[in-house]
Symmetry: D3
Subunit: 315 residues, 6 copies
């Protein structure tokens, strides 16, 4: 990894500037080259229930100001690599189709610019154009998907098959995900159909429901070895977390995982080759005292801690 030339701002420098970036990082415009770049995706018209995730990037930027740089193993994430705030992807709020074209174009640049991009949403439908761009750069991806919902439904409900409940069906059918390396975790009912995991399992994917946390954790621990240097994308819908910890989201479901469980789940992945990821569905106007945004920022930080460990696999 190259020599460090971007430095995180101190608290007082951030106050003086008056502008807010993810983790007080330099803006990509000022940073030049980076190893990882954080982007916001302020779009939510793919939402079926409560909208508001368009403000997710805003909320997570703010909450991330108060987080430190070092993980529980003593690793200084921002010292070990150059991370920058890439601003937001710009898209119209009126039309999922048009927005996805705009997002895909900008995501394409992100995946081909030499840095690992991580995205903060925004409704989960945005992960479809992002996965298109990711697969274009890396080939079919291994995907680890944390969510309360499978997001593999079809056009049956709304007559339209591009929204936040269909993203992984589309991504698999379009070939962006290697369905044998597709893991869904945290799903929980009451489900809309008797066999809610039929699509994923039919394609060869693996599902762990919320009540199967212990098994899920064990499985995740096996992935760094099992998957080796295969490129991995981690997609986190904040509603995988129980609404008590993450009320600020559009389609909350009771009975989710705790932040501690999620942090352990991500830490279990150390050693995978992460080429991209996202934290989606953060809707700050349904949040209270910023607890959802804080949790989302923390999850984003945990994703960043996976990156220094990729050195072996991609050097």
């Amino acid at each position: 990894m190259s020599v460090m030339n971007t430095t995180r701002l101190s608290i007082t420098e951030t106050i003086a500037d008056g502008r807010i970036t993810f983790f007080r990082l330099p803006h990509l415009r000022d940073a030049g080259q980076a190893d990882a770049v954080l982007y916001g995706v302020p779009f939510d018209s793919g939402t079926t229930y409560r909208p508001g995730a368009r403000f997710g990037p805003y909320g997570v930027r703010r909450a991330s100001l108060s987080l430190g740089s070092c993980d529980h193993t003593g690793n200084d994430v921002f010292a070990g690599m150059r991370v920058a705030d890439g601003g937001n992807l710009v898209c119209v709020p009126f039309d999922v189709g048009t927005a996805h074209v705009q997002i895909e174009q900008q995501a394409h640049q992100a995946f081909t610019g030499g840095a690992v991009p991580l995205f903060v949403g925004g409704d989960h439908s945005c992960s479809l154009p992002i996965l298109r761009a990711a697969a274009d750069a890396h080939g079919p991806l291994a995907v680890i998907h944390f969510d309360a919902h499978s997001d593999t439904s079809s056009a049956a409900h709304w007559g339209i098959d591009k929204h936040h409940g269909t993203v992984f069906r589309n991504a698999i059918e379009e070939g962006h995900i290697d369905p044998k390396r597709f893991v869904q975790l945290g799903l929980r009912g009451p489900f809309g159909e008797p066999d809610p995991h039929a699509f994923t399992r039919g394609k060869g994917g693996i599902v762990f429901e919320a009540h199967e946390y212990n098994d899920a954790l064990t499985f995740l621990q096996s992935l760094p070895t099992a998957w080796g240097s295969h490129p991995v994308y981690v997609s986190i819908d904040i509603d995988v977390i129980d609404p008590a910890f993450a009320p600020g989201t559009g389609t909350p479901v009771s009975g989710g995982w705790t932040p501690r469980e999620m942090f352990a789940a991500i830490r279990a992945l150390r050693g995978i080759r992460l080429v991209g990821g996202d934290v989606m569905e953060v809707a700050p106007d349904y949040d209270h005292a910023d607890i959802t945004s804080l949790c989302a920022a923390h999850l984003l930080f945990e994703l960043l801690t996976l990156l220094p460990h990729r050195a072996a696999s991609n050097s």
Copy 2:
């Protein structure tokens, strides 16, 4: 007017039923024929800033439960005519274009069913397909438009010209509004351009800014005589009201009118021939203690009080 055969439920009847309709009115499915029908339009993907107006019909229905039947002149609105809750217009939340087609079809039925329809939104973009249907039934309409914004902007900002900020430009350019009988009231800055009323005034319309309330009221009082039996549509964006009274909306602007001022403004219109109307942009999740929904329900009630007075003009 025909014999009354629909009766508003009492409070205890409403409690027993457990379901909520506008003003505890019978549902159109049970009511048979009606003189006026209230519809919800749960759509908000035409919103440029804070979404959430998709829940407006829900909030206004609930708040309307506590309102009585009689105006300050002793007129029992629901005794003098048959009013029903027509449910909601159904449309996809993902795409303004598709949704507007769906809304227009259903609004067409509403305007040709023999009753005066009133709509509760929902973002203001929905008024475009409604006005299309209204003009299809009645010809170019006189329109009285209460709003903080002119909603006459173009595709310049977003590259798309169908959203909640362009509805009246489109409605005029498409010929649904008689521009000489187009009145905008309550508009206020800071404006996006030096001559924000150029479009409306250029077409022959009239504008009163928020600080011109007294002149506006006087002008409104002249309209029943001036316009005679010309069909009139009244469109109220709840943000014409100051955010203190109506925080539950997507693009609030400081310095608006009070509810008392708005009630007086609507009462000044008694004698016009109202053929349709709407109360839009109610976003209950930004509301506090239901005050916005209560105000919106009250405005809807005031619109209903205009209807018995149309007897003279349309009998």
Copy 3:
């Protein structure tokens, strides 16, 4: 008036004590004799819609801490007379009938103890047992009633005629109010019946609706002269104020008066012989940033400013 022996606590004395009283006043237990005593009435099971006024005394005590002692004429209310916090009237929350018996007994003591009692509620039904006690001490009272609602309905709606919507019908029918000296102000619709003021006007009382503020103010200014030393009770339902200023209440109605209008209305009464009063229906859990409680405390203060002026009439 007697020598002052009760002193309001300073801010730092209040902090040191850690306990909260109305206006940082001494508790009646410590104060000995007083000229006016403020009581809470933490009861709300007479509420037809949103309960929570049981916490009104709590909210108003807290908000009152920040208010000064002197009115706009330079009169130091707490220097000119001895005012104390009398604690709360105690009653069961489960049953209006039992509670009213308990309230009446305690209110009787308050009215016969030599001080003018003012009450903070609590739902408006509590004013009935208070008025019973007041009339027992003073004979039929002149009553000035500020409210969004007439509170003169009957058992028709609920099959029970003792709740917060029937208090003034009962008080008049029981003879506690002189109906010729009964004034209702701020009432507004949509009303439940075509002639909502029939009861009051039929008894000889006077009604000003919310849209008649100017006439109401002029009328109030005439009362000190008109009524001379007749004992007066002022009852303020906080919902006379528009919900924007007082969201923290159970049955808010759009289109109410502003605090400035209400302060002017009370100040117009200087010279009446106030023998008791109340500020009711404050429900802090529906409030935001304490604005309702602050307004209620201010109204209570304005009631207190009427007292020094009674010197002439009752000395």
Copy 4:
């Protein structure tokens, strides 16, 4: 079980209708016969602390819209039996005694109508008249009671022994509960007395405190066998859940169970013969982002999943 003739509405059908029922179920008025009926009990004047549970049925209906039909075993609850929304029980809000008579009469109809009734409250005092009606239909009931509080106190505190803290003492003393088949779970302190379980244990009942979750779960798993076809009533006070997950309630107590723990606890009961049940004390105005109502709807769903399993025991 008879042929299915009631179908749950789709999301778009629900939007079109505009009215809200539990789980988008048909209203009992339209459904004809049903196997299970869900009733609201909008009453809260039996509350000792924060009122507001009168709006519980309203909140749970709304939150239940977004829940699916199938449990984690693939069972479609609404396909396997006919479930309907029975509306609300109607009662006066002013008086626990009168309300309980009204509730009991309506509950009696519910228990003798051929369907299993489940109730959503409303304060826990309402479970007393419901249990009276249930025992009238089924004889003394086995009762599983989840709660933070024992609800076995007496008239000692308030001088009245019918309120939300005395319901199970009364139900046992009146003979509606078989005290040997009475289980209380989730109770926690600080308690009001040194031996808070004396009453229940003295009658032969069993208590598990909140910190004894594992033992409680094991015990629950033994009940389907132990109790065979004895009729069982399950009463859930939402405050058994920790306030982080269920802030919307009247008397929250720190240290409660998680939704996942509660779901597992109910699932452990599969095989009991459920003849009725309730989810009580949901107070939406203290909720945030609907998380309490969502959890309550989910608990109600879990109760429904117990019903198809009763086939063996009551056929």
Copy 5:
């Protein structure tokens, strides 16, 4: 005025950047020279009651994004002069004394840099070091002070005389304000002392209480002529506005002015020579739906509209 070389960002440019500045203005670091600069002052430890104004600059920046550029006369404020966001003044949150030294140093730079500085607070105590710097640059200032409180109290209450309630006493006693050109408006009680305006009037200043709005407006209209080119500083405590419109503040007082009244008051000043100003005491965490921040941003905009008019007096 010099050639324009700083351009406000469009909405989409702002979204793309992801960082937020006042009114989407360029940051001073990028702007080079400017005619006016907006600074945040994120300090609130001078607060006697509810803290939180440290987040005022943050809230006002965000709310200002949605405001246009043109006032009601068609003047494009940001076209007519170069305005920039100067970031925040940096100071420690632990100690008013140290913070004021830090603020004064940075304010000194602001006042001597060739642009008119406007400040967004932050508690009102910060106006003292700002006024020191302003007077150092311009000599004793004419000051127009809008507030609910006089802020002329002394060390009597807290034993310390530098806090948000003493700023104008200190500024006058230190000679930074010309006491004959000192106007206080919007003050209201209950006051802490019988003659609350003694200090100001004793120095030759003028006071208008909240209930004297009409007189105040007339007086303000006279100032442009009366004061000619004398340098003027306008200090606005957001609590001059009624808490209904501005709940997000530390010491709200019922009975304040409306935004429309305040906008008219500022517009009356057109023609004065504004050399600095502030909008203070915005505490977003007590706000609801951003209405206070929106109002504050609007007031800041109105202050900016005073600047183009100074051309005549200072060219």
Copy 6:
């Protein structure tokens, strides 16, 4: 222990009084002598992020009203010893240094008055003057510190070394804590530096991070034996609890402990010789539905349960 002469008030006595004390206890002014005294510390200007802990004592007093007297072992805490509410320590809100002098003086009286004092804050910086007073009375203390943060940072960040992030560094360096008997628990990242526990461990102290709960609990269980009668101070920053359970605090960190885990942790300490303690950083204005204050009151109660067990060690 001496004969009991202070009795906790009943609920109805508390309502009658109208004033609120911790756990409805008698005020120290009325109680005479006590075995334990609870003090509020309403100060928060040592806060680096969200202020508001000045209202912590207020919030905890209110929430504590609803708690019982008996722990899960049947011990009646308030029967077994005399506990009183000592009111608040008074200090200026403008300056950490001055406030700490004031706090230390009052804490000195508390520690030398014969009762065990427990404090409710207030920001954590207040624990420094309290620890000074405690060590002055008892010598260097064993300290058990529950927190999300180590609070051992230096002047590096702000140029000032007395604030809520430096308290334990200062207390150790000043000699008030026996560093070999210093335990920190619940700490979690992302940390500000690679070796965040260097200071504590360098002094001989012990640290358990949040993810090490089980080890921490085992260690705590060893302390009563290991420490014997050494005087112990327990300091609880409410943010040791996850923000879902305790949103009402200034610097929340995702991934904290649950209340049940914390209650078990405190109960593990039974047998230590507690000479003082605190529950700090409760900021009610960021709370929801009082859940943070309820949890804090419960923690305070658990601290009290440690006291009767000290009989053996200090008799």
